[in-house]
């Protein structure tokens, strides 16, 4: 008995006789004989009870150190926030969880209205005119933005800030090998200064876009307005990347500083860490560029009775219609994660988001001050939101491992992100959120004092 398969053997026999087949094998006659498997594949176990599977998976889960059970300071593109209980309840409503892409809008208004609300929330947070119905994640949204800038400007040189997450840079490099885009990349300097001046100096007539992260990989916050002006003076676009959307409750949105395309990783709101995925890519832009946007859009319209309703729209940009001329091959969004994001955002509201952001910043400031008091530790970042970088007197990566052995997940070492970059090896990125307690900060500081002594 397989618990998810409702057909009984008498059912199967009756159905075969309706079909006019002698056996199930008759339905696989088109498979060449040499490729037919005669029975279950050897070496793989047979079916198992719920209880047995649960035991197996639970045993695997126990082999991991759970972020919520230890002092925890990791960020660098994925952040641990408290997610209200109702978020996870609502995304498990079967009508959301087990629905498909809303291709039949008359019976998918729930998903469609949610996407319209999500698009509006995201556009307002990013400070853009419009936003799409989400991308796979921040890193792929970032690459798609570079391709979008190429199509809009008809130029192929993208300048990537050294403050852009190194995984995002890697993704862009991989894709650029095949699309012919020229990328200028840099390694960040372990200093308080960002590379905005250098980026401005690097822009020329061939530049399609400048890509800058805000706050950047080290946590630094810088005014993007001069960069936007320099881009526009050269008919290039400014792409801003936000990996921590909670920051937008505290700092000016990139769109307000005239960024043309703003992409982000939405994981912080509603989604959870999940060892890296699934996450939700945010993507907004100025209205004049919507025809070059990849991904799905939900739009408002009316039904035959004149009632407001929502549909997927502008789909002629997409692969199922434009095929090889599509803006992207993307064929999905991150629907359920977008729902989680949107529900969490609705629960917070503007007042809640601003308070959450204030709490994060305050906790980070206290942690930065406390860690700066540890002998030999120096705070690198002067401006930051909930994540900052410190320079240790020794290489940070082994320190992180040592602290992990003591039950403290201390942060992300720059040695992990930039292996082989000696100038960065002593850097440690520390993220602090509303889930970080004063005791956690004290525990980390005290342990660092011991380890560095």
């Amino acid at each position: 008995m397989m618990r998810y398969l409702p057909l009984t053997q008498p059912d199967r026999d009756a159905m075969l006789s309706v079909i006019g087949a002698g056996s199930i094998d008759d339905l696989f006659v088109d498979v060449p004989e040499a490729a037919r498997l005669s029975g279950p594949i050897a070496g793989l176990p047979g079916h198992a009870s719920e209880l047995a599977v649960e035991r197996h998976m639970t045993a695997l889960a126990r082999k991991n150190v759970v972020a919520g059970e230890v002092p925890f300071f990791l960020g660098a593109g994925a952040y641990r926030h408290h997610v209200p209980a109702s978020v996870d309840h609502l995304i498990q409503r079967g009508e959301f969880l087990t629905a498909y892409t809303p291709y039949q809008p008359e019976i998918a208004q729930g998903t469609l209205q949610m996407l319209f609300e999500f698009q509006t929330q995201v556009a307002r947070m990013l400070g853009t005119d419009v936003a799409n119905a989400s991308m796979y994640d921040g890193s792929t949204a970032c690459w798609e933005a570079i391709g979008m800038a190429r199509r809009i400007t008809r130029k192929g040189k993208a300048i990537l800030s050294g403050g852009l997450h190194p995984h995002y840079v890697s993704v862009a490099k991989t894709m650029a090998k095949y699309t012919g885009d020229q990328l200028e990349t840099a390694t960040p300097a372990l200093s308080a200064e960002t590379d905005v001046e250098a980026l401005i100096a690097a822009i020329d007539a061939d530049t399609s876009c400048v890509v800058v992260q805000y706050p950047d990989i080290l946590g630094r916050i810088t005014d993007l307005t001069p960069l936007a002006d320099a881009c526009h003076a050269n008919k290039a676009l400014l792409i801003a990347v936000v990996t921590e959307p909670v920051a937008l409750g505290a700092i000016t949105a990139p769109g307000e500083m005239d960024a043309d395309i703003v992409v982000g990783e939405g994981q912080s709101l509603g989604v959870g860490l999940q060892f890296g995925g699934p996450y939700v890519g945010l993507m907004g832009c100025k209205e004049k560029y919507i025809r070059q946007m990849p991904g799905r859009f939900c739009g408002e319209t009316v039904d035959a009775d004149g009632r407001r309703g929502f549909v997927l729209t502008l789909s002629t940009r997409e692969q199922h219609i434009r095929r090889e001329k599509a803006t992207s091959n993307i064929c999905t969004n991150s629907g359920l994660c977008a729902l989680a994001f949107s529900v969490h955002m609705t629960l917070l509201g503007e007042a809640g988001l601003r308070r959450l952001a204030a709490i994060n910043h305050a906790a980070a400031c206290r942690a930065a001050d406390r860690l700066s008091q540890v002998p030999g530790v120096e705070l690198v970042t002067e401006s930051f939101f909930n994540e900052f970088t410190v320079r240790l007197p020794v290489e940070a990566r082994p320190v992180v491992r040592t602290l992990a052995d003591r039950g403290i997940l201390a942060g992300v070492s720059l040695g992990r992100l930039y292996p082989g970059e000696a100038a960065l090896a002593n850097g440690l990125i520390v993220a602090v959120t509303e889930t970080t307690s004063a005791e956690d900060i004290e525990t980390l500081a005290a342990a660092l004092e011991e380890v560095l002594a």
Partner: protein
């Protein structure tokens, strides 16, 4: 006796068949209209409290960029938020409500054990950049799932990081490109794609810099093998073939095609969207496939979630394995190791690079592995058999009612295809689909694949009982008969859904993609 004075008199009135009077609210009993959050929320209300958490910063260090302007984000108290989304959810059709015969999309039951396991804190609350010795269980999940996928497909290796099926296609095509370049044949620019393919296939090939050439289909719904082989040559990088194909048919000649492609120096990409039809019965590796993506949300029951997130691992042949993307998991002794840029070294120097931040859709891996362990090798084989049995049952039950262009040629695989050929003049596939909505079913896939005019692609999946299939067949037969008889009421269907047909022309001509109508209420007090 005692007389009930309340006036309560349970009684039935006979219906007169006329529609009920409109209600003041627009609601229809359990069918509730729901406003936008921007109409019911305001910027001061919040459903999250942070009582006892200090928000006072020693001094702001936001680089002079503290936000000044209002954002315009409405908030709802928790009861209102729960109600808002619950009401919205009830305007959706879903597998949990009934049979969802969307061909090529594989809407099967999503076991709830999968959800429970994905939410174990040891999986859900783990950061992707934790030191690897603190995430050995997570890496082991990836390793175990990889082993199943490689074994079930008869391939050599698997790239786990692609985020969805189309992303997996890109992964496969980039590996082919890298392999060609590694042997100095980067000049091969042509990718052959059958005209019945998903739109993602040509879009993917074009993205990677290839030129796409269509290969025609034969009258029996399969790729024209002779035409394909005739086109092979020194400029052809490879082919992208879906098997079973989008007409729901097994490509009998795939091995012959693969051999010919290999002889001509090309590679075979198989779109594995329909692997659920053959899992446990056929290994694509035995058919000469070099790369194939597997949609975990199709074959292995991770939820579709109203449009994602997906997950698209790609299995590779020995020839393409050296070019697979980073990162991946390797077992070294008793340790699970993450192979990334820094330790790819000599063994994996040919890798074409990284496709995503972090390691892929871990939350989907835990669900898929749970599903696979639940079924086991024997259960997965039964999955394919029941999926194919159910589709053939639908095909034979309806071929007398609807035109079934390939029914004469033999059995179908996991999905049955029909056309609009024998509907009344002026009636189309769309009318059948919308009529089916009123009968309480999600429509089948319509107007795809493009090789069949007015296509209706029905995929029941293996998680439907015979009773459910009989009910669906009865409903579709009834709607089809009405469309054949020219029943005008079908042209305005659906009549009983939350919305009537929507004006897609208006939506596209004057796109309204965000709420703009009125400023938000600033305060509730």
């Amino acid at each position: 006796m005692s007389i009930n004075q309340s006036g309560w008199r349970p009684q039935m009135t006979a219906g007169d068949g006329k529609p009920a009077a409109p209600t003041a609210t627009g609601n229809k009993a359990l069918m509730l209209e729901e406003a936008l959050i921007f109409e019911i929320g305001d910027t001061q209300t919040t459903g999250v409290d942070f009582t006892g958490i200090d928000a006072a910063a020693p001094a702001s260090r936001l680089g002079g960029l503290a936000r000044k302007a209002a954002i315009g984000l409405p908030g709802l108290a928790e009861p209102e938020a729960v109600r808002h989304y619950t009401r919205l959810s009830r305007q959706n059709y879903a597998i949990d409500l009934g049979l969802f015969p969307l061909g090529s999309c594989t809407m099967k039951h999503n076991p709830r054990l999968n959800e429970k396991m994905a939410r174990l804190p040891g999986f859900a609350d783990v950061h992707p950049l934790q030191p690897v010795d603190t995430v050995q269980g997570a890496l082991e999940v990836i390793h175990q799932l990889a082993h199943w996928l490689v074994t079930l497909t008869g391939m050599t290796s698997v790239a786990m990081s692609p985020k969805a099926g189309a992303h997996g296609e890109l992964c496969g095509i980039l590996a082919i490109k890298a392999a060609l370049e590694a042997r100095g044949e980067g000049h091969r620019k042509i990718v052959l794609v059958p005209e019945s393919a998903h739109g993602t296939n040509p879009a993917t090939a074009a993205f990677a810099g290839f030129a796409v050439e269509d290969i025609p289909a034969t009258a029996d719904g399969r790729v024209d093998t002779a035409a394909l082989i005739a086109r092979l040559g020194p400029d052809v990088a490879g082919v992208m073939i879906t098997n079973p194909n989008t007409c729901g048919l097994f490509e009998r000649d795939l091995k012959t095609i693969s051999d010919a492609v290999h002889d001509a120096g090309g590679y075979v990409y198989c779109d594995g969207a329909n692997f659920n039809a053959i899992v446990g019965r056929v290994r694509p590796g035995d058919l000469g496939v070099d790369a194939m993506h597997i949609n975990l949300h199709k074959t292995f029951s991770t939820p579709h979630g109203g449009g994602g997130p997906g997950s698209g691992p790609v299995v590779f042949s020995e020839a393409l394995t050296p070019f697979a993307p980073l990162p991946f998991v390797e077992k070294q002794g008793e340790q699970f190791v993450l192979i990334e840029e820094e330790n790819a070294g000599e063994h994996h120097a040919g890798s074409f690079g990284r496709m995503v931040a972090f390691h892929g859709q871990m939350g989907m891996f835990t669900r898929a592995l749970t599903y696979i362990l639940s079924h086991g090798a024997d259960g997965l084989r039964q999955v394919a058999e029941d999926a194919v049995l159910n589709a053939n049952y639908v095909l034979r039950s309806l071929e007398g009612t609807l035109d079934a262009p390939f029914a004469k040629a033999g059995p179908c695989m996991h999905e049955a295809i029909f056309s609009d050929a024998n509907l009344a003049e002026g009636f189309s596939t769309l009318d059948v689909a919308k009529g089916l909505i009123d009968e309480g079913f999600h429509p089948m896939t319509v107007y795809f694949p493009l090789v069949v005019h007015g296509a209706m692609l029905v995929e029941p999946t293996e998680t439907e009982s015979k009773a459910a299939l009989d009910q669906f067949v009865g409903a579709l037969r009834s709607v089809a008969e009405r469309a054949k008889a020219g029943d005008a009421s079908l042209k305005t269907a659906p009549h009983f859904a939350p919305r009537a047909r929507l004006d897609e022309t208006q939506a596209a001509r004057k796109p309204v993609l965000v709420w703009k109508d009125a400023p938000l209420a600033q305060a509730a007090e």
